[in-house]
Assembly symmetry: C2
Homo-oligomer: 503 residues x 2
């Protein structure tokens, strides 16, 4: 008896990854599972890359369009990028090899709000989905699918794809069963209804993904870990940034603008937000909630200690040590964690209703509060906007954080004009660097600029920013948002030419 | 018997505009009614401006902070700007005198998403609201207020202000009573609930504004028209833009991506959208719906002819001729028009649920689809973002329209890099000029650029754009979003220096 593939008909469709990959043809649109290095297919993409390399060696063209939940791993984006097998990629990536290809101009990449992906697929904006390749933990007797460590867009991929390839990954804990909440109440306009979620831990759906067995063309068994990297303790700069943000939150509580339980937290991924989460634990907060995209080690720790009461997300991205902790106390965590589809985890309706505190990283911000989350020097994509726009636009508080400099001081994160804008001045409330905080709420552009220079900029760049701002206030064409157009992007140009924004 | 002030206690608070204005002190935050030249107070602001001018003549400082629904009229923004009486203005304006002051750097202006204003006030981000000055059509026996030609933020102003001044405007048709729907189900997080609106014409609230009579410090009677300008028939360029958009919508219907009744229409204000509305009528559409901000002449005409079945908005901005038509058939229109608060008319939850077709104007768009709605040459504010972001981000289709050139060809609306970004590449689907259309859905940045050049740019600027794009593709630092940073804003700089973007 196969305890992971409990449906007889689907058990009969087992085959090797190579045979499954052979069912994917050049030019197809392939929708895969995966969100933040969790729950992506582990073997079919690699077999597909091998198949593509052979085709290329024979002089044949072979590329596919690849859609996912968000970022994946070397076994998916990495191998397909190296095989030059991707024609179009969306909606997010963070793989070094794929990034290099994109920035060389070798393939098309569409950087999207993560809450838009499912509905734009349903709207038909990307054309037909030929094949879905979905990792699951198990298949039930009824043919329902137990999701693995992320849900992402899997519901949509399974419904929209003509054919389905399943990877059943024995490495994924069987205990994940019951943690997911897949909402089947979505519809196309004009038939949409309110989403009946009032609290971060409300369960509004089913623990499984529905799947028409007749669409399944292959079931591949795997036993391979997610891209789990060991947890890195926050560095000094991250802890300083976190300390400023925690001071600010405490101030908001004292002013009565936040309750002691705050509001549902959304936090991006990385060192700074880990430092913030650690800081919340140390500051004595209790019974917080999270309505976010990814549950990482820091969040698991807060759940363990009761600092966070419940956490909603779409992905579960843990270090090996945290996975052991999770498995040792799986019944405890199953009551406190809900994994949803990303159209629900990131839904504007829910982010605004719940009043999330959105905390995200950034590449740079300009004097007036326009945030660049994606492009180095306005042209080179880093990862993508991800869910930051879904949350920042609709949040109770939208916070963006970064060290005040990068590359050993060669880059200032506070610039005269952002070289690319992902979050406009209308969507940005609070900026934090290790130097301090700029609370931009209720401020006009020129007031914001002075706060940014005084509160957030690095001392090495403060005089340059003050000089620019002063001259712009005197000489700008219009003086609502003063700029000197001839030098607004000169810092970036200098960086491209000399490797430093410094004069 | 005063048929417009039917509440005895409030009848006793009648006084002159001068006496009411004397209750407003320097430095106060004054929240006024008004949205798109409709429903703004007609006499207290003018009396306040006179009072301010006298104070200034005596050498005293006197300025106030002014919050509204959106744009008002010469009798509010105009007189207060000329009196140099505004310290801070939000969230939108379109007055030439006020604009001039803002762009001279004389006062602070905060340009906001219109759906954010009420909640940011409730959140306490703007501090206390000292006085509300609200125009109403009538006061009922119970002290409820019959809104006038716009609802805007009036519910929030009445609830949040310490004191209330009412202007009862006899010019506003008594027949407006019953057309409004004021939703009292909003709350602060974490107590928010789904907004129970499923269709554009659902009534989910009450026809009156609630008001605590004890907060009312003055009632002023007026009899003055809204800022109604005569309707201008669309010019040839607007009709060309509309024709391209109508072709596109017809194409979407043929492809099955839209039903023949389309989806609820949102349209900005102006000549181009009037041409689109006229075109919808001529193209044979029936039973359309509108979920929008402002009902103008064009919409009234479509309602009359059954092209549009129902229209939801927050403001009613009609020409004198259209007002006559409205009054002649007021019972017909009362069944087909709902006026709501602007937090509901523009609510992201509802715009996404209903799947609006958002059609807005713009100042410029860059090759990659970043739209500037607000700033000429990146520095000089025109009006503001208004509701365009509320709608574009959450719409089923987000369309931005403009003639391909401005100022007799001296300005290209398609530029290498937007000099200010209000709608990022992530939020913009379709661009239309009189030259044609660029459908950007499902396209990567470089694909978008070529569509924009081929489909939308003016022939005078096409070679310059193609030259820039070609060189950027070869020489850009990163080639995901190719730019030459040294010349990305050079077109705007040339315009500032020479009055033309042409070389």
């Amino acid at each position: 008896m196969n305890d992971r593939i409990r449906h007889a008909g689907l058990r009969d469709k087992r085959m090797s990854a190579e045979n499954a990959a052979a069912l994917i043809q050049p030019g197809m649109t392939v929708a895969m599972s995966g969100f933040t290095g969790a729950g992506y297919p582990k073997s079919v993409p690699q077999a597909l890359a091998t198949r593509i390399e052979s085709a290329h060696a024979r002089g044949e063209d072979f590329r596919v369009k690849v859609m996912t939940g968000a970022s994946t791993a070397p076994e998916l984006d990495g191998v397909l990028a190296r095989a030059q097998g991707i024609e179009l990629r969306l909606p997010y990536q963070s793989d070094p090899h794929l990034r290099e290809r994109i920035n060389a101009g070798d393939l098309h990449y569409i950087d999207m709000h993560l809450s838009h992906v499912a509905q734009h697929t349903w709207f038909g904006f990307f054309g037909a989905v030929d094949v879905a390749v979905i990792e699951v933990t198990a298949i039930t007797e009824d043919g329902h699918l137990v999701p693995s460590s992320s849900v992402g867009n899997n519901k949509t991929w399974l419904e929209q794809a003509d054919r389905v390839i399943l990877e059943v990954n024995r490495w994924q804990p069987a205990a994940l069963e019951g943690m997911h909440d897949v909402y089947y109440g979505t519809a196309l306009p004009p038939n949409r209804k309110p989403i009946p979620l009032l609290h971060p831990d409300d369960r509004i759906g089913e623990p499984w993904l529905r799947c028409d067995p007749s669409k399944v063309i292959a079931v591949v068994e795997t036993d391979a870990p997610d891209r789990n990297s060991p947890f890195t303790p926050p560095d000094a700069t991250s802890r300083e940034i976190a300390a400023h943000l925690l001071d600010f939150l405490a101030h908001e509580v004292r002013r009565g603008r936040l309750q002691p339980q705050l509001l549902p937290l959304q936090s991006g991924v990385g060192n700074i937000t880990n430092a913030v989460l650690m800081g919340l634990g140390e500051a004595g907060y209790r019974d917080l909630t999270a309505f976010t995209e990814v549950i990482q080690d820091g969040m698991l720790d807060l759940l363990k200690r009761g600092v966070v009461r419940v956490a909603s997300a779409t992905s579960f991205s843990l270090s090996p040590a945290a996975i052991d902790e999770f498995l040792d106390h799986v019944d405890y965590y199953r009551e406190r964690i809900v994994l949803r589809t990303q159209e629900i985890s990131n839904h504007p309706e829910l982010v605004r209703r719940l009043g999330c505190i959105a905390m995200n990283g950034m590449i740079e911000v300009d004097l007036y509060g326009n945030v660049n989350s994606t492009h180095v020097a306005g042209t080179k994509i880093m990862n993508g906007i991800g869910g930051s726009g879904d949350f920042a636009r609709n949040a109770y508080l939208s916070v963006f954080m970064s060290p005040s400099t990068a590359k050993n001081g060669a880059i200032s994160s506070i610039v005269p004009m952002a070289s690319h804008v992902d979050h406009t001045e209308h969507d940005v409330m609070v900026i934090v660097t290790e130097r301090g905080i700029a609370d931009l709420r209720g401020l006009s552009p020129k007031q914001r600029a002075q706060r940014m220079i005084d509160g957030c900029a690095h001392p090495d760049y403060q005089p340059m920013l003050q000089d620019y701002f002063g001259r712009a206030c005197r000489e700008s064409f219009g003086k609502h948002t003063p700029h000197l157009l001839g030098e607004a992007l000169s810092w970036h140009q200098r960086f491209v030419e000399t490797g430093s924004m410094r004069k």
